[in-house]
């Protein structure tokens, strides 16, 4: 009986040890799996962060560059604008002293003719005013007026730069043919001409 009891005890302990070994082995296998999964997950997270960082870095680069390009384009535009404005000021200076030119009378006559034609009346009222021009300098201009027309000579240049303004007798139809209004009417052509001459555009 003692021998079979010892066998039984040994069997009980052997079963327990076997079960214990299995438990430890299972936990080690599970542990290995947990570690593998953790490494894979860590690698995935690492790659995701790096991929996002790549996009972020490109975005930062583009943002800095596009901002700089915008600023520099603006600087170029401002400089071109400054140059064009400077040229237009010089043009205005030349126009305001145009009465000294040999071509003044012929030009004034043409401006009057254009203005009279534009208001299309037999009795146009034509105001004319250029710098340093008085009535006695405008004999030629009177000749191009129709018989019923009236010439009014301003002592001062009209619209600062000088020119001609024609109206019908009631003052309802007005045609402004001053240098200033011609500059405004020809604004687009003027800018194109200046740009192509200076910048070759």
């Amino acid at each position: 009986m003692s021998e079979s009891l010892e066998k039984l005890q040994n069997r009980i302990l052997s079963d327990a040890k076997h079960k214990a070994d299995e438990t430890i082995k299972d936990s080690q296998a599970k542990s290995q799996q947990i570690l593998e999964e953790a490494k894979q997950r860590a690698q995935r997270e690492f790659e995701e962060i790096i991929a996002k960082a790549n996009v972020e870095a490109e975005s930062i680069r583009r943002s800095i560059l596009s901002s700089k390009v915008r600023v520099n384009r603006l600087r170029i535009l401002e400089e071109k604008n400054r140059i064009v404005e400077d040229i237009i000021h010089s043009v205005e200076d030349q126009l305001s002293s145009f009465s000294k030119s040999e071509r003044f009378e012929e030009t004034a006559q043409r401006f009057v003719t254009e203005a009279v034609k534009a208001v299309d009346t037999d009795q146009p009222v034509v105001r004319i005013g250029f710098r340093n021009v008085s009535k006695k300098n405008l004999d030629g201009v009177s000749k191009v007026l129709p018989k019923g027309g009236k010439l009014v000579v301003d002592e001062k240049p009209i619209d600062n730069l000088g020119g001609v303004v024609a109206t019908d007798p009631e003052g309802k139809v007005v045609f402004n043919n001053t240098f200033k209004s011609r500059l405004e009417r020809l604004d687009n052509q003027l800018l194109t001409l200046i740009s192509s001459t200076v910048f070759g555009e």
Binding site: K19, D26, L35, I49, R61, I76, I87, L190, I194, F199
Partner: protein, 105 residues
């Protein structure tokens, strides 16, 4: 050995067997618990490495872009100088053409 002694021996042996199994179970839980902590450390280290690398990438991208921006400044300065030079050379011609346009258009 009496029957009662034999039963006592069996009971003691089973208790010992339970302890062996319980100890193994506790050890297994400890192994899993330590592994989970190790897994979390692995994840945190990977994230930290990635964040460090991210900072370096962003800083590098910024420096590179600023260098390219400087190049853009230089090119712009050259263009501005060219325009100023052209303006000096061609201003008189442009004024003359513009005056003619206003007079004759």
């Amino acid at each position: 050995m009496s029957g009662i002694d034999a039963v006592k021996k069996i009971v003691e042996t089973e208790a010992q067997a339970r302890r062996i199994v319980d100890e193994a179970s506790t050890k297994a839980q400890q192994i899993i618990s330590e592994t989970r902590e190790q897994a979390e450390r692995i994840r945190q280290e990977a994230t930290a490495r990635a964040q460090q690398q991210r900072e370096e990438m962003l800083s590098g991208a910024k420096s590179k872009a600023e260098a390219e921006a400087l190049q853009s400044d230089k090119e712009t300065e050259q263009i501005l100088n060219t325009y100023r030079k052209l303006s000096e050379e061609r201003k008189a011609g442009a004024v003359s053409k513009a005056v003619e346009l206003i007079l004759n258009a």
